[in-house]
């Protein structure tokens, strides 16, 4: 027993010394191979690269889900003469693990620095306009011009977010303009119809009409939304300015209204008091919460990626219509490292991939596959709303969940109504604090003034941002 122990530990020590020394440079290569299950594409590209012994360009791709890495497979399949190889690093955004890693890698520079990196709506501003924006290349320098952007009819909010001082640095492939997704059966029962055009005028425009509708629903024993988080996103995005004005914390009146609206929801029992992304919230998507819930606010991805798995028996009983006020929620932007411009071959490869993902409106462009759900050959995959209105207008957005309704009819105008001008790079952290304090107020633990005061104090404590 003792000898076994000693022997085993000796082997471990030896292995650790070897791996610790050699682990640094070799490990990132493994990440590429092990991350996406179907990366057969990269090796087949190698063999079909033609007879020219050109050096393969390696692109370091950083993402926080496997969405973009899966796109690289499709890219290599549709571009057999592309002489690239993707080395992918995926770090989930949970617990804030992605950003520090990405920031460190960008700061370190060198061969392993990210060439293309993804940023989510919650923190994209830091990389496109904020502290880390110096690392990002201008799309113009990569050969991706503003004209291309106009031709593809990219949603304006997406461009606003991705630009710094008029220079475009980031674009996304999804458009995440939000709509109101409601239950057809509950609509018929309360309003007599489930027609999106009629419902649109029942619930809005404006929050006063929304609450009138809530009262009508309550009379029938239904809640209008699942939790206060559901109305937060439209409210957040409807404000005139963001959380920071001249570097100081500013509470826009429209956002401050959230305190009152949330309380109104709770006091009148218009919702099930759930918190988004929790079990109870999901339960409401299948109508199995405390009271049946009329609708959810969300972009197309909420329908296709979240509700899809949760609706169960209510599948087909949903429809979308315009929300009381326009908003967007979520989305992923792609950025390129400034340093890729130094190498012509790399610059071309990076530009080509980014163009394919964000600006290509052709049949073989990513967005066409993405919108129609044809990423995998022969399989009907998930459809989604994409950045280019041009692509959406030629695509078929009918989905079963919505009882056959073409979701693009609603989402194209929704994307246009979203605003990209009221965000800051600290939004993610500030929003967490804000929602927490609002919850304290609505549950009766604090007075309204106390909640606001505590909110300002905590933002100062945690982020070192003073209030005006």
């Amino acid at each position: 027993m003792k000898r076994l122990f000693t022997g085993a530990t000796a082997i471990i020590l030896l292995a650790s010394v070897l791996s610790a020394c050699g682990g640094n440079s070799n490990s990132s290569g493994n990440a590429g191979a092990s991350s996406s299950p179907s990366t057969g594409g990269s090796s087949s590209a190698e063999s079909s690269a033609g007879n020219e012994p050109k050096e393969k360009v390696t692109i370091n791709l950083w993402a926080f889900t496997d969405e973009i890495p899966n796109m690289t497979t499709k890219y290599l399949a549709t571009h057999p003469d592309a002489n690239v190889e993707f080395k992918t690093t995926i770090i989930a955004t949970t617990d804030g693990a992605y950003q520090p890693a990405l920031d460190q890698a960008l700061a370190a520079g060198g061969k392993d620095a990210p060439d293309i990196y993804a940023a989510e709506a919650a923190f994209v501003l830091k990389y496109s306009q904020g502290d880390a924006s110096d690392y990002a290349a201008n799309y113009a320098d990569l050969g991706l011009t503003d004209d291309m952007v106009k031709e593809a009819d990219i949603a304006q909010y997406s461009v606003d977010i991705g630009s710094k001082d008029g220079q475009l640095k980031a674009l996304g492939y999804q458009a995440t303009g939000g709509a109101f997704i409601y239950r057809r059966s509950l609509a018929k029962d309360t309003f007599g119809t489930d027609d999106p055009a009629t419902i649109k005028n029942e619930i809005g425009p404006g929050w006063d009409k929304f609450f009138d509708a809530a009262a009508k629903l309550k009379a029938k024993g239904y809640g209008i939304v699942s939790g206060d988080g559901d109305i937060w996103h439209p409210i957040e995005n409807s404000s005139d300015v963001g959380w920071l004005v001249d570097g100081k914390l500013h509470i826009d009146p429209k956002r401050e209204q959230f305190l009152d609206l949330s309380k109104k929801l709770k006091d009148n029992g218009f919702h099930n008091d759930t918190q988004d992304w929790t079990e109870a919230w999901y339960a409401d998507m299948s109508g199995s919460g405390k009271q049946p819930i009329f609708g959810f606010f969300g972009p197309a991805w909420l329908i296709n990626y979240v509700m899809n798995g949760q609706v169960k028996d209510t599948n087909g009983d949903w429809a979308v219509t315009e929300p009381p006020t326009g908003f967007f929620w979520g989305g992923t932007w792609l950025l390129a490292n400034k340093d890729v411009a130094k190498d012509e071959a790399k610059k071309a490869a990076v530009a080509d991939f980014i163009h394919w993902v964000t600006l290509d409106t052709s049949e073989t462009g990513l967005q066409n596959y993405w919108a129609n759900g044809t990423m995998k050959d022969g399989e009907q995959g998930t459809k989604d709303s994409v950045a280019s209105a041009v692509v959406m207008s030629k695509s078929n957005g009918q989905i079963d969940l919505l009882g056959g309704q073409n979701m693009f009819d609603v989402f194209v105008p929704a994307n246009a109504n979203a605003s990209g001008k009221n965000l800051t790079q600290y939004d993610e952290s500030i929003n967490i604090i804000w929602r927490d304090q609002v919850r304290e107020y609505t549950s009766g633990n604090k007075s309204r003034d106390q909640a606001i005061a505590d909110f300002k104090q905590r933002v100062k404590d945690e982020l070192n941002i003073d209030s005006e």
Binding site: A10, I12, S19, A20, S34, T65, I91, A92, T94, Q310
Partner: protein
């Protein structure tokens, strides 16, 4: 002098008291056993639930509590792997770091303890008091500086900063010293010297074998402590393929896995399985070690 000793017989009253004492003791014992069984269940139930839920599918879990396993182990496993949770990689990383750190800790602590007990040197007592003080330093005090230091050395995402500091482990030195003081006789060392062995040779070949019980105990604790360490690896390792198991566990709670409860439980079960195995194999030594560590004369 008590009544008992004077009269030579046991008075009736005392006898009655002993009888009732026995009854109340019986009642006491039942109460005690009930409490103990309750506590034992309290210790087991969460883990039992975890293992059971690892085999159930998410809808099953959402529908209620169950103490019996189900059949969805394989599907949970597939979901877990699909979502790029790599338990093998995490296991390997944790194993490498913990194993190497444990080896360094026990060897160098024994070495230092030996130096403190066998040799008579001027700074011996101050050095020992110094070690005692070092034991009290909370990990956070050095964490930020340590991180910045490693960042400048470009040693982030390397296992070295997690392994090398294990050389200096004050608590283990303390324990080894106690053990040596109790079991080592100077005569043995002197005899070895007379036989012509050098100091290092004496330590490695003669003294270390004597210390095996203490080494084994401390090795187990060092290994488990290193295996369970979250804070340091969390701030130093940012590349996914370098993650240790605790880091992976901390990521299980996040966005990607929120809906898939079955796979969350399975991930948790996987990360703790090695610990359970070690524990049940070596529980006797572990508990003896805890007891030993507590008694400080």
């Amino acid at each position: 002098m008590t009544n008992r000793e004077r009269s030579g017989t046991v008075p009736l009253s005392v006898h009655a008291m002993k009888e009732s004492g026995k009854v109340s003791r019986g009642v006491n014992k039942t109460v005690i056993y009930i409490v103990l069984v309750f506590l034992a269940l309290l210790s087991i139930l969460p883990f039992w639930t975890m293992f059971v839920n690892a085999t159930r599918s998410t809808p099953e879990i959402q529908s209620g509590l169950s103490l019996l396993p189900s059949t969805h182990l394989l599907s949970n496993w597939n979901v877990l792997l699909d979502k790029s949770f790599d338990p093998f990689r995490g296991f390997l990383n944790s194993l490498i770091i913990s194993g190497a750190a444990t080896l360094l800790t026990v060897y160098f602590s024994s070495l230092t303890a030996y130096g403190l007990t066998v040799y008579n040197w001027k700074m011996r007592q101050p050095f020992f008091t110094f070690i005692m003080c070092v034991m009290m330093i909370p990990a956070q005090a050095s964490a930020i500086g340590f991180y910045q230091f490693m960042y400048k050395l470009h040693w982030t995402n390397s296992f070295l900063p997690l392994i090398l500091p294990a050389i200096a482990a004050p608590a283990v030195v303390f324990f080894m010293r106690q053990y040596l003081l109790a079991t080592l006789s100077i005569e043995m060392v002197e005899a070895a010297r007379i036989d012509g062995s050098g100091e290092f040779y004496t330590f490695n070949r003669i003294v270390m074998p004597i210390m095996i019980p203490a080494v084994a105990t401390q090795a187990i604790f060092a290994f488990v402590a290193n295996w369970n360490n979250l804070f340091m690896p969390l701030i130093l390792l940012t590349q996914k393929d370098k993650y240790t198991l605790p880091i992976m566990v901390s990521l299980l709670k996040g966005d990607i896995y929120k809906t898939e409860f079955g796979s969350i439980y399975l991930g948790l079960a996987l990360t703790t399985l090695p610990l359970f195995v070690i524990y049940f194999l070596l529980s006797r030594y572990i508990i003896a070690g805890v007891a030993l560590g507590g008694v400080k004369e």
